[in-house]
Amino acid sequence: MTDNAIADTSDTTAQDAAGLGVRRRDFINIAAVSAAGVGGAAVLVPLISQMAPSADVLAESSTEVDLSAIKPGQAIKAVFRKQPVFVRNLTPSEIAAADAVPLASLRDPETLEQRTKPGHTNWLITMGVCTHLGCVPLGTGEGEPKGEFGGYFCPCHGSQYDTAARIRKGPAPKNLMVPDYVFETATTVKIG
């Protein structure tokens, strides 16, 4: 473009003087660069999108759990999307302890009712993934530490969850996430 710009100097000066500085060449220039820019941006779409979860990863998105063997006070770890899910059968005293906490005192205020299904308030089903940095908290197995609030304790950075799996102490910002699930029968749930 520079070569022609030099060749056209006298011409453009005359046009500038007349207020006609826009040349046909400028239009071609802008159109060509814009087309290349749009093309370049379009190339980024597959390059970025390929990193998102693939179809087979997304397909692993539901799990059925049989609850019949879990007695009050017990908990199990199920697998959902290759991550642990905590399924816990709360005792009446654990439910009472969760209900006794004033909502205003919570970091992420939610009641036990909001975190369970109607008629199944004793079944606390949450992801077993600490909302701080993704470790698996302790407290499902027999004899594992449950933390100061009787729920779950994350050994990585010391987050403590109560009997409704709500964050009470430590660095985690949120309660343990409740996944989407439905009770298919009284003793089986489908997660995801």
């Binding site: 990193m51 998102a52 979860p53 693939s54 990863v57 770890k77 697998v79 999307r81 290759k82 991550q83 642990p84 970091r107 077993g128 993934v129 701080h132 940095l133 993704g134 470790c135 698996v136 994350c154 050994p155 990585c156 950075h157 010391g158 430590g170 660095p171 985690a172 910002p173």
Partner: protein, 425 residues
């Protein structure tokens, strides 16, 4: 660039003359690390660590490429293929230990290189660009080391990947989407392992590219030196070859002795036994820590345990951890003292040693469990870390009275410089 008295490349052999005319690569090498590069005559052994870092990079690239010939980046067999390297591949155990301990050696060397820069003010004008590129190299090294540690797919690999990628979920609004996108799933799995392997292979060559820029930028003003006084005349310099090739060669021999001693006698001393357990997404090890070279920054991450205003503790910790390195980018403009070397800055020098102690304390806390007193100690040490860079350095550089500087490097070395007398007349 070079000083006017730099020796010129003059090939004697007809073949080398022919090459020089077509592609002056030997000339380039001669001017970069040969007799054509005049270097201050007073460099001490702290100036050895740039070359050592370069050697470490080459060591990692060579061992890494041969390890990649035997490793399989599939979540089902990655752990087994690592054990296959350790047990079945000829010399595989040595190559893998050399690579794993090579990473530690690289970080030892680079930390000394960085703290050499802190003490001698190597980041100051006209060498800001060298410093900025150096910080970029350090960030790339951290990314590369992290992804490399994930590849054996042991418990520490898996949970390290889980915790570090979860840092990105602290980003407000889009954090969870970014986290899933980075992993290609909801937790580390095959997709994450494969992309980490791909990037772990790529990034060392990116580092190599930035290292070339780093050395290019260095050769424009030339090397700094322990007095911080710029080169004034030919008597202040010696040719890089043979003077510093010999000195660096000796330093390299000492380095290799220490490195091979660790490699052959304590190859697992810096590792974690838990990483010899295959990755298990259902169970987190009781005590997860990153490799030692991340400990100071890990301590800063964990120092934030309380929400502040609208900022959750997790986001604050992540921001602080990244800021702890990003603040180095501003160092040339935070320290305004015209005197470079810590030798002539009595107040700065005391705070420099305090910073070294602070880093060691942070490192110790980062390697300890997340419980008291380590949490409180890392909170104090984190506060001091930022105080040093953002408050102490700017104030000290304004109020400090530096000690008198020598007229020249020659005077500092010989006690007298003839050109000093000429300048005084």
């Amino acid at each position: 660039m070079s000083f006017p008295w730099a020796q010129e490349y003059a090939p004697a052999h007809p073949f080398m003359k022919w090459v020089d005319e077509k592609l002056p690569l030997p000339r380039f090498v001669y001017n970069a690390v040969g007799a054509g590069y005049p270097v201050p005559r007073n460099l001490n052994y702290f100036w050895n660590f740039g070359i050592l870092a370069g050697v470490c990079l080459m060591l990692q690239i060579v061992t890494g490429i041969v390890l990649a010939m035997h490793y399989a980046s599939n979540a089902d067999i990655a752990f087994s293929s690592t054990e296959h390297i350790m047990r079945d591949v000829n010399w595989g155990w040595m190559l893998r230990y050399a690579h794993a301990n090579g990473a530690s050696a690289f970080f030892v060397v680079v930390y000394i290189h960085i703290f050499r820069g802190f003490f001698y003010g190597s980041y100051k004008a006209p060498r800001e660009m060298i410093w900025l590129l150096g910080v970029v190299i350090f960030l790339l090294m951290m990314a590369t080391a992290f992804m490399g540690y994930v590849l054996p797919w042991g418990q520490m690999s898996f949970w390290g990947a889980s915790v570090i990628t979860n840092l990105f979920s602290a980003i407000p609004l889009v954090g969870d989407a970014v986290h899933t996108w980075l992993l290609g799933g909801f937790a580390p799995d095959n997709a994450a392992l494969n992309r980490f392997f791909s990037l772990h292979f790529l990034l060392p060559f990116v580092i190599l590219g930035v290292v070339i820029l780093h050395i290019w930028a260095l050769h424009i003003p030339g090397s700094s030196n322990p007095t911080g006084v710029e080169v004034k005349s030919e008597s202040d310099t010696v040719p890089f070859h043979p003077y510093y090739t010999a000195k660096d060669g000796f330093g390299l021999a000492v380095f290799l002795l220490l490195y091979t001693a660790v490699l052959f006698f304590a190859p697992n001393a810096l590792g974690h036994p838990d990483n010899y357990i295959p990755a298990n997404p259902m169970q987190t090890p009781a005590h997860i820590v990153p490799e030692w070279y991340f400990w100071p920054f890990y301590a800063i991450l964990r120092a934030f345990t309380q929400n502040f205003l609208f900022f959750p503790a997790k986001l604050l910790g992540v921001l602080a951890m990244f800021s702890a390195i990003l603040v180095w980018f501003f160092l040339p403009w935070l320290d305004n003292s015209p005197v470079r070397s810590g030798h002539f800055r009595p107040t700065f020098r005391k705070f420099y040693y305090l910073l070294v102690v602070d880093m060691l304390v942070l490192g110790y806390c980062g390697g300890s469990p997340a419980e008291e007193p380590y949490v409180m100690v890392s909170q104090i040490a984190t506060a001091y870390y930022f105080l040093h860079f953002l408050v102490i350095l700017p104030i000290v550089s304004m109020v400090e009275t530096p000690a008198p500087l020598p007229f020249s490097i020659t005077e500092a070395v010989l006690g007298a410089d003839e050109s000093a007398a000429l300048a005084a007349e």
